[in-house]
Amino acid sequence: MFARGLKRKSPEDGEDMEGGLAGARATPSYSLQRQSLLDMSLVKLQLCHMLVEPNLCRSVLIANTVRQIQEEMSQDGTWRVVAPQAAGRAPLDRLVSTDILCRSVREQEGERPAPDVGDGHTADLVPGLAVVPSAQALRSPQSSLWEVDSSRENRGGFQKSLDQIFETLENKTSGSVEELFADVDSSYYDLDAVLTGMVGSTPSAHANRCLHPASPAASLVG
């Protein structure tokens, strides 16, 4: 039931959880797993928005998670431009066990990577998803850009299903997480909002009670 790659904990590992990590866990694995989490989240978001009526709560929670990761990566200095023609195949265990990310900050203190350590490695693992972080999400002035993947070859390690997703999303130009939302909203909600008489979208516009006219047919039945 658990994701592939989740290691069964030996008793020693279990006890180690609280007391800090064994020196055996290399620091670049944190970057790797954080990257994996980011990619997983972006895929989830794209899948969310492929539905005509996405689950808004889920989309919001995933988008917020993406923002948090982006913020942390920008603080680390690992958030930067990546060349689209990244060479080499992504390792097969791309979506590795990311249990390391489940541990608290306290436990991770000893193993947070210094900026730029092992990041040449990270560059190879970019899936080529187009994400333009908004000014809000990034505090650092650099605006990193992940190009839309024009060549599919460098996603070697991904499963077939992910390839198919990317193919269907080829024409999507949406960039930032926020734009993903905006797309959904404008095409999906506004017409309905007009029809139900909700004027404007600011709470202050609802100074008076809003009346929602229903269709005349929907009244007493039975």
Binding site: M1, F2, A3, L6, R8, K9, P11, G14, M17, Q33, R34, L37, M40, L56, C57, V60, L61, T65, Q68, L95, T98, D99, L101, C102, R103, S104, V105, S134, E178, E179, F181, A182, V184, Y188, Y189, L191, D192, A193, L195, T196, M198, S201, T202, P203, H206, A207, N208, R209, C210, L211, H212, P213, A214, S215, P216, A218, S219, L220, V221, G222
Partner: protein, 414 residues
């Protein structure tokens, strides 16, 4: 399955989205050792699948919530809602029918008036009990987003319905108008970071309601303060524990259910890993916190990957507000006694429990050596989740819903 209990009746929704009402049999005086069993009382389909022509999408008949209305006369009423439309249903019994009409035959055909020579008074004669469910009101077209909650006011005249971004107030008699009382939609949808996850009216104060959010906050609003309750009267939020912070902190803080105690003095919230009891007079932290399945904290990433982290568990109080209950995975459900501080884990499954036997407590082994009869975390079945539980308002009878079955448990009668 989504069971709700009201006195003698339980309703649940099957996977093909029927409303099924169970009724407890009258206690068998001869066999005093057993309480009445619950048998099917009525079955009906609440919502039809609809097609939205403007958006070219089908609105499922999947029911999100059902709520009984307090019973005022012989008939029962309940509200059921799918993503967009709320319906009021009347459930009535018919156990007699009129016979002996002068102008009609028994089969309904009209008699030739010239053949009528005497007059008689029609009388009611008993018949086999027939239970009818009829839709009395349809409350439609007031929600752009998906409805997640409905709650009946203590005035028994109004109710609220909540979707991801708005809460509307309805009068049970009026279907063509509703009042918007909460609107958290940002001017720019790109700025959306928080949604409404649940809402409930206070059980005694008809002006007061609460709504919970995906960021783990609860807002208490008073409808007398203003027409649009955008400013809360109280904001309940527990400060985050910095030592427990991870990328999943926000997701697991999202509240999936909020329920007032029967007394109205407390409210309970359910987030992914815990149940919290709040005193309405204290906003900065809950008065009690119960861990439902803390052993999942180290598995959050896997649970995020398989989407289990988005599961929405409900919770409920017993009639005296002394025990709270909620579901978990592997068909486990948990009860917490607020007075003794003891808790118990039970399992709703046919394989492990024969009918009419006492449930055996279960235990999950989080780490270290697994004792006999314990289950290790890695063996838990995450497809078997108990999202819905309900407790009889007066007796120790509970309804627990697994994916395909409804279980009813009651206190052992001595």
């Amino acid at each position: 399955l989504n069971p709700i209990i009201q006195t003698r009746k339980i309703i649940y929704l099957s996977e093909i989205w029927l409303v099924v009402i169970f009724q407890q049999e009258q206690e068998n005086k001869i066999q005093s050792h057993s309480r009445g069993e619950y048998n099917v009382y009525s079955t009906f389909q609440s919502h039809e699948p609809e097609f939205d022509y403007l958006k070219s999408l089908e609105i499922e008949e999947k029911i999100n919530k059902i709520r009984w209305l307090p019973q005022k006369n012989a008939a029962q009423f309940l509200l059921s809602t799918n993503d967009k439309t709320i319906k009021l249903w009347k459930i009535s019994e018919r156990d007699k029918r009129p016979e002996g009409y002068n102008l009609k035959e028994e089969d309904g055909r009209y008699r030739d008036p010239t053949t009528v020579t005497t007059l008689r008074v029609p009388v009611f004669r008993p018949m086999d009990l027939m239970v009818e469910a009829s839709p009395r009101r349809i409350f439609a077209n007031a929600h752009t987003y998906h409805i997640n909650s409905i709650s009946i006011n203590s005035d028994y005249e109004t109710y609220l319905s909540a979707d991801d971004l708005r809460i509307n107030l309805w009068h049970l008699e009026i279907t063509d108008r509703s009042f918007n009382i909460v609107d958290i939609k940002p001017a720019n949808m790109e700025e959306l970071t928080e949604v409404i996850t649940a809402a409930e009216f206070h059980p005694n104060s008809c002006n007061t309601f609460v709504y919970s959010s995906s960021k783990g906050t609860i807002r208490l609003c008073d409808m007398r303060a203003s027409a649009l309750c955008d400013r809360h009267s109280k904001l309940f939020e527990e400060p985050e524990d910095p030592s427990n912070r991870s990328f999943f902190s926000e997701i697991i803080s999202s509240i999936s259910d909020v329920k007032f105690s029967h007394s109205g003095r407390y409210m309970m919230t359910r987030d992914y890993l815990s149940v919290k009891i709040w005193d309405l007079n204290m906003e900065n932290r809950p008065v009690e916190t119960y861990q439902v399945h803390e052993y999942l904290r180290s598995k959050l990433c896997s649970l995020y990957e398989n989407d289990c982290i988005f599961d929405k568990f409900e919770c409920c109080w017993n009639g005296s507000d002394s025990v709270v209950m909620t579901g978990s995975y592997n068909n486990f459900f948990r009860m917490f006694d607020r007075n003794t501080k003891r808790d118990i884990t039970l399992e709703a499954s046919r394989e492990n429990n024969k009918p009419r036997t006492v449930l055996k407590p279960r235990k999950v082994c989080a780490s270290g050596k697994r004792k006999k009869d314990e289950i290790s975390v890695d063996s838990l079945d995450f497809n078997k989740k108990i999202l819905h539980t309900a407790w009889h308002p007066k007796e120790n009878i509970i309804a627990v819903a697994t994916t395909n079955n409804l279980y009813i448990f009651q206190d052992k009668v001595n």
